[in-house]
């Protein structure tokens, strides 16, 4: 949580005068199930990217590159829309145990 500011320090009218400040709010901590990407199975169909409600599929040069776990909430939509089952959902606890 950012430090709370006084009334003289914030823009008037409730306006947020900068774009995309929510990027500072990392929703990845919500995740219970973790999508894991199997690159070998991936055909870069990109439905995962199109659907991801948290913009957490990383793409470059028309190719899937991985998953941004800082924001991924673990909903599993990416796995459900993948035609080649290249993403599987695993309990987050598994990764905690593995350190």
């Amino acid at each position: 949580m950012a430090e709370l500011k006084g009334w003289r320090e914030i823009p008037i009218g409730g306006v947020i005068d900068k774009p995309a400040t929510a990027m500072a709010f990392k929703t990845g901590t919500w995740r219970v199930m973790r999508p894991t990407w199997n690159e070998d199975k991936c055909v870069h169909y990109m439905m995962c990217w199109l659907y991801c409600p948290d913009n957490s599929i990383i793409v470059k040069d028309e190719r899937m590159m991985g998953i941004d776990y800082e924001y991924c909430k673990g909903c599993g939509v990416c796995a459900s829309v993948c035609p080649t089952k290249a993403i599987s959902m695993e309990p987050e606890t598994k990764f905690v145990e593995e350190g």
Binding site: W7, I10, I12, G14, V15, I16, P19
Partner: protein
């Protein structure tokens, strides 16, 4: 330099439509309601004839009128609307949002009694329902003031240390439909006076995207409210400068309040709107009879000019407050605030509260005289609310 003026015989509604023509707002969104309708009709004619290049939105309700004006103002446009009574009540939700979003919208309000029962005539119940909304509220005594205050309101609203919306109140029918001589300033003089709008944040500035109207919880809502208090405080510094500048172009002097024959007055009446004209006549009559009476007219009701009121009312024997609206189960709005302003007075005057003119009920010189006479005779009883022109 005082500009050359045109003198027209017009109604208060027409006078305000002329002020709007000269302001030439970017956007006007409005809905018809008696007695505000002639403002919108006259302005629509200016639009139709190409005299202004305003984009008009003939909305399907006052709620949408205020909503559209909020959208337009957030997009950096100079945006106006106008309304009355139930229309203002329908806007209520967005009236608060306009103020808290700090959008400098100017809205002429043609005062009319709020339903129910339904009534189309003048009283101040409509605007009084918005007194805590965060808008600046100005009251005109006549058509000339309605015109002048509309122009003044625009400059005040858009001042960088204010950025608050303003209601310019004129009494329904009495001012809005009564024909009076009104001096209209030259168009270019008005345009120079108001200048260009410089929005702080604009939705159309796509290179600097802003978020208007976020969810503001317990961690920041309070801070934003405190900012609104500050903006209202700033009005006390900005308004005198704006009216001084206006006096330079018009020769007409405005202030928070207008004292009338107060110099040695022992008994002072306080009122809003058109009734002040009648009170002035009665004061003249009573003065001619040797009675030390006077009037304190309130031009600005929000922010409430407490210091100015204290300055004028301290030391008086009696203060008679006229209200054209009520607060059921409590003291009438203007009376309550004047009384509160006198809390710190070294010697408290005797006070009387008089309700008059609800739903357009006639207010006659003899009503005002009777209230003054009670004051002079020492018959006022504090908080004993009296009614002028009411049948028992």
């Amino acid at each position: 330099m005082i500009a050359e003026k045109t003198r027209l015989a017009i109604t208060g509604a027409e006078a305000v439509a002329h002020a709007m023509r000269q302001i030439n707002p970017d956007v006007v969104a409005a809905y018809p309601i008696t007695p505000q309708t002639p403002i919108v009709e006259n302005f629509a004619k200016f639009v139709a004839d190409g005299i202004v290049d305003t984009e008009m939105i003939p909305v399907e309700s006052e709620h949408s009128a205020m909503s559209a004006v909020v959208g337009a103002a957030a997009a950096g446009a100079r945006a106006m609307t106008a309304t009355s009574a139930n229309g203002l009540a329908l806007m209520h939700e967005i009236v608060y949002i306009a103020a808290s979003t700090r959008l400098p919208i100017v809205m002429p309000v043609v005062n009319r009694a709020l339903s129910g029962p339904i009534n189309i005539h003048c009283d101040h119940s409509d605007t009084m329902a918005e007194r805590d909304s965060g808008w600046i509220q100005l009251f005109a005594e006549n058509a000339q003031e309605a015109y002048d205050l509309t122009i003044i309101a625009l400059k005040l609203a858009e001042h960088e240390s204010v950025l608050l919306p303003v209601m310019v109140n004129q009494d329904g029918f009495i001012i809005s439909h009564g024909v009076e001589p009104v001096e209209i300033l030259p168009d270019d003089v008005v345009r120079n006076f108001i200048g260009e709008k410089k929005p702080r944040y604009s939705l159309l500035d796509v290179e600097n995207p802003v978020t208007y109207g976020p969810l503001d919880l317990y961690d920041y809502y309070f801070e934003h409210k405190r900012q609104q208090v500050e903006a209202m405080e700033n009005v006390f510094e900005v308004f005198p400068k704006v009216v001084e500048e206006f006096a330079e172009i018009s020769g007409r002097k405005y202030n928070f309040i207008e004292p009338y024959r107060l110099e040695d007055a022992e008994h002072v009446m306080v009122a809003l709107g058109s009734t002040n004209g009648t009170i002035k006549d009665v004061v003249d009559e009573l003065r001619a009879e040797g009675k030390k009476v006077g009037l304190l007219k309130i031009w600005m009701y929000r922010p409430f000019p407490k210091a100015e009121i204290q300055r004028e009312l301290y030391g008086r024997k009696t203060v008679v407050v006229l209200d054209r609206s009520m607060s059921f189960g409590a003291e009438a709005p203007l009376y309550a605030e004047v009384k509160s302003a006198l809390y710190e007075a070294p010697a408290k005057p005797l006070m009387g509260s008089f309700i008059y003119g609800l739903g357009g009920r006639e207010i006659l010189p003899e009503h005002i005289r009777s209230a003054f006479e009670m004051a002079v005779a020492g018959e006022l009883v504090v908080d004993d609310q009296k009614y002028l022109g009411l049948r028992e």
